[in-house]
């Protein structure tokens, strides 16, 4: 039966916690989540029932029908081979044109938004021009190989010499390549892994339409040719117009290709309506969809259905067809608000009810759930239980400082709550001005265990956009108004959204470095004894010679410096070659900066946004605390003894391990631990990164997070001085206390985290697990709101929640087939619990379920 929270005595009253939904009194704890999905219509219920999920688990696709497609590889290779001699950016445009002109287009039954990224709705496309190793990964696996496989092998091998990977590798020593590819001290560089991100400028397409963009490019070409032909030829001034003309020409080619491809979908809808469909209502729908595809994205969107279809076409091109990019970065409640207003409030175009709008957003969620790229096995492994990273952002403030929440925000949140899918995830920008109605919907999603929205501090992140703006190389960084328009680029890091200045490549910001593994190598003079058995980092001395804690700190700092320098160098080398061989004419066409200045999307950077993700930092930090306490302050152990114990995986050293395990830990408002950890985040992680200047001329700042890498790196890291055994998972996110060690209550965690100055960091992920009986009670929202207001006052960057009982997770481990709708927050993404490995499931279960006590209510000032 359901477990109610026990009553509490508070301010002279007995406080009871009945369930907010009385029906839950009779639902056992072990199956709560199976009763929560309420798709808005029969259609979305059907679409969810037949959704072609592309989730992976243990690196393998969960659904057996998923395979790699060959069509994209074939068509881009065909174009590239025949198109020699032209400027490279034109070749890239022609490559897209050939693909969109000849590829298979698909319309599935029942759907309201059309378009897919491969020739079969069960397939994923491949990207041989980015990473040949990621392609080979599919080709060598008969379960998922593209067919015919011999042709696929030939196509992949053609691209080896032309790939980003091959171009970039030549600038590194063999040792550097071995370290980079070992996935030990840092993440494999994007040029080898093929992983990328982008923030599309959807606004120009929704507001202008592509025909207008073509007109702009034609105008620029005409103007440039006039200058070229003007009297008194001046080479230094005018020769630079040549590559600009090439770029504008490539924009025209790519926009025309996208328009024609979208209209092919319209034609298909019409053919289905006239020749296949017998249901009159569906016929009518298909004809409407045909009209929509004819008009958008060629023309500006006029209603909400237009907007969603236009956005979906642009998404497919920029995330899957022109180039692979992870993400779904945009702010739909701002982007689509005028269209929501036209359709739902004014009913002037595509008149619909709010519920119709919710249904459309549910449809979009299901389209995302079916969409996946051909990522390498490595990346499939580190997003267990999901198909890729898709995070949209809501809330915050508008440019004029008014509340950014509106009825469109609510429709998107209701859709998420109702349909219950893991993707897309949602980031909510929390501002004190944000309306309560919307915050309550955020709460409902969190309470229902979706793991999202994750919450970002609006003010801190808006200020950060202004901080980075000062480094703009063309003095055109974010203005005061533009700084309000930001979104999560992927899981955590903010970046501008809008008509220009957005982050266009992961080489600008992204990728990870692993503090715990670097600490392990520091303790072994740069050697990795636990995984590769090779010298990974520089030789920074033997620990027995570190007379003071500062000696250890500085050796660790040098190891970190060596690794982070290599990381950012790899990203900027990649950027150098992306500019030359991975141009994105369509991405450039829809960016106002690229259009105005005639500069390509990879090359132009108006708003620096440099960042890198330290992962496993709390494992490292807790280890430093334990070393300082037990070796340097209490002098209970020597380093020699510690190293022996670690190399034995603590076997024979159980008492010693207990001491290290019980040393002060982060997340308990403990001054001893918190002072060291604060220094680690501010002086060490941030301090070292900010000494670097990246391609865009700005600093690099740390984004503490985890994705699934806290598990993968945990499995590649031996025992650590915080008491961890070899192979155990590391900490599950950014600044989150290590699983199970935050024992002093939810407000103690906030007090610890608030000690790290958020302005020295780009972002830091904070995972918390809150008591399900409290959150599901009729007082849940009040308590959570008070907690969130305190979080906000503390100027903490981020927080996200799991609300799920161990009973339910244990039941799902026993009978996974009965718990398909159980969703958990892993790190910067959510996943279906039953699609996770046992290793991953156990890390979620180990997270301490924070209960609220009277002292917490007093601290938060809650009135109950």
């Amino acid at each position: 039966m359901a477990t109610r929270h026990k009553p509490m005595e508070y301010k002279g009253k007995t406080i009871e916690f009945p369930f907010d939904n009385p029906a839950e009194e009779t639902i056992p704890d072990s199956e709560v989540h199976e009763h929560l999905a309420k798709p808005t219509t029969e259609r979305t219920k059907r679409l969810k029932g037949r959704c072609r999920w592309k989730h992976s688990a243990g690196g393998e696709f969960v659904e057996g029908d998923v395979k790699a497609g060959i069509e994209r590889m074939r068509l881009i290779t065909e174009a590239y081979k025949t198109d020699t001699g032209k400027p490279h950016v034109i070749r890239r445009a022609n490559l897209l044109d050939n693909l969109l002109n000849k590829c298979t287009v698909i319309v599935q039954e029942d759907e309201l938004i059309v378009g897919f990224n491969a020739e079969n709705p069960n397939f994923v496309p491949l990207y041989p021009e980015q990473s040949y190793m990621a392609c080979m990964d599919y080709i060598l696996d008969p379960k998922i190989a593209p067919q015919p496989v011999e042709e696929a092998k030939e196509l992949a091998e053609y691209w080896i010499e032309h790939s980003l990977q091959k171009k970039c590798e030549t600038y590194f020593t063999q040792h550097e390549i071995d370290v980079m590819y070992s996935l030990t001290t840092f993440e494999v560089p994007g040029f080898a892994a093929g992983f990328n991100s982008v923030v599309p400028t959807y606004e120009t397409v929704i507001e202008d339409g592509l025909l207008k963009r073509i007109e702009l490019a034609e105008h620029h070409i005409a103007a440039a040719k006039e200058v070229l032909g003007a009297a008194h030829w001046n080479a230094p001034e005018r020769l630079k117009l040549l590559p600009q003309i090439d770029l504008w020409q490539s924009m025209i080619i790519s926009c025309k290709a996208v328009i024609a491809w979208a209209r092919r979908h319209g034609r298909l809808c019409k053919i289905i309506a006239e020749n296949f469909e017998t249901n009159p209502k569906r016929k009518e729908e298909l004809l409407k969809m045909a009209d929509i595809c004819q008009r958008v994205p060629a023309e500006p969107a006029q209603g909400l259905w237009d907007g969603l279809q236009s956005k979906w076409f642009v998404f497919l091109v920029l995330h899957a067809l022109e180039r692979y990019s992870s993400g779904f970065a945009h702010k739909p409640d701002k982007l689509l608000w005028p269209l929501y207003k036209a359709s739902v409030i004014d009913k002037s175009f595509q008149a619909m009810s709010h519920e119709d709008a919710v249904e459309l957003f549910e449809c979009e969620r299901l389209k995302i759930s079916e969409n996946a790229p051909g990522k390498s096995k490595g990346f499939r492994s580190v997003f267990p239980g999901s198909n890729d990273l898709f995070i949209l952002t809501l809330g915050g403030l508008n440019r004029d400082g008014s509340d950014g929440c509106n009825d469109c925000t609510d429709a998107i949140l209701e859709a998420a709550r109702n349909i219950r899918t893991t993707e897309p995830s949602i980031a909510f920008r929390w501002h004190p001005k944000g309306r309560l109605k919307t915050k309550n919907l955020v709460f409902q999603c969190v309470r229902d265990g979706l793991g999202y929205p994750s919450i970002k501090h609006d003010i801190i992140n808006t200020q950060q956009m202004l901080y980075y703006a000062q480094f703009s190389q063309n003095n055109n960084g974010a203005t005061l108004e533009e700084a309000h328009d930001w979104v999560n680029v992927l899981c955590m890091s903010p970046g501008l959204c809008g008509r220009r200045k957005t982050q266009k490549t992961r080489s600008e910001g992204g990728s990870a470095i692993f503090s715990a593994k670097i600490l392990e190598t520091t303790l072994n003079n740069g050697y990795d004894w636990s995984f590769t058995n090779t010298q990974l980092g520089p030789q920074t001395g033997n620990v027995e010679d570190f007379k003071t804690f500062e000696d250890l700190w500085e050796a660790f700092r040098e190891q970190f410096r060596w690794n982070i320098d290599l990381c950012i160098r790899a990203k900027d080398v990649s950027r150098y070659w992306e500019i030359r061989i991975l141009e994105n004419p369509f991405l450039s066409a829809i960016d106002d900066g690229c259009m105005e200045l005639g500069r390509e999307s990879m090359e132009l950077s108006e708003q620096p946004n440099g960042w890198h993700n330290p992962i496993t930092s709390i494992t490292a930090a807790n280890s430093l605390v334990a070393i300082k306490k037990l070796i340097y302050d209490d002098k209970k152990y020597t380093f020699q003894e510690l190293i022996k114990a670690l190399h034995s995986n603590w076997e024979g050293y159980e008492e010693m391990r207990k001491d290290f395990l019980n040393a002060p830990k982060w997340g308990n408002d403990d001054p001893y631990a918190d002072e060291i950890v604060k220094d680690f985040f501010e002086d060490f992680l941030s301090g070292e990164m900010r000494k670097i200047t990246n391609y865009s001329g700005g600093p690099v700042m740390p984004v503490g997070q985890a994705i699934g890498l806290y598990m993968e790196i945990g499995s590649r890291t031996g025992p650590t001085p915080d008491g961890r055994y070899g192979g155990e998972a590391c900490d599950d996110g950014g600044i989150s206390p290590y699983m199970g060690t935050d024992k002093k209550g939810p407000t103690a965690v906030l007090r610890s985290v608030s000690k790290v100055n958020s302005h020295t960091q780009k972002a830091n992920l904070l995972n918390q697990r809150l008591s399900a009986p409290i959150m599901r009670s009729d007082k849940g929202f009040k308590i959570w709101l008070a907690y969130m207001n305190t979080w906000c006052d503390f100027e903490i960057d981020h927080i996200q929640f799991n609300v799920v009982s161990n009973e339910e997770m244990a039941a799902a481990q026993k009978e996974p087939e009965k718990h398909a709708d159980l969703i958990v927050r892993v790190a910067g993404f959510s996943a279906r619990f039953v699609d996770l490995s046992t290793y991953a499931q156990n890390t979620i279960m180990a997270r301490h379920e924070q209960d609220f006590e009277v002292k917490d209510f007093e601290y938060l000032g809650v009135e109950l």
């Binding site: 002109n101 069960n122 092919r264 034609r267 298909l268 053919i271 296949f276």
Partner: protein, 60 residues
């Protein structure tokens, strides 16, 4: 000889369309699997030979 334009799946692309070319059409097929139905469309030239096409069905 079987050619695409003789097949029931062949739909000539109307004049005025962005991708119009004389003799060009959409080859539209209905597909089905355990999850449900979909329709796919690929561009073909009407005169292309369809002898080996597994989806070829002569138009009535």
């Amino acid at each position: 000889m079987a050619t695409c334009e003789k097949c029931r799946s062949f739909y000539p692309i109307p004049e005025g369309e962005d991708d119009y070319a004389e003799g060009k059409g959409d080859c539209v097929c209905e597909r089905k699997d355990a999850k449900g139905k979909w329709w796919d469309s690929k561009p073909v030239m009407g005169e292309a030979t369809a002898d080996k096409c597994p989806d070829y069905v002569q138009k009535k």
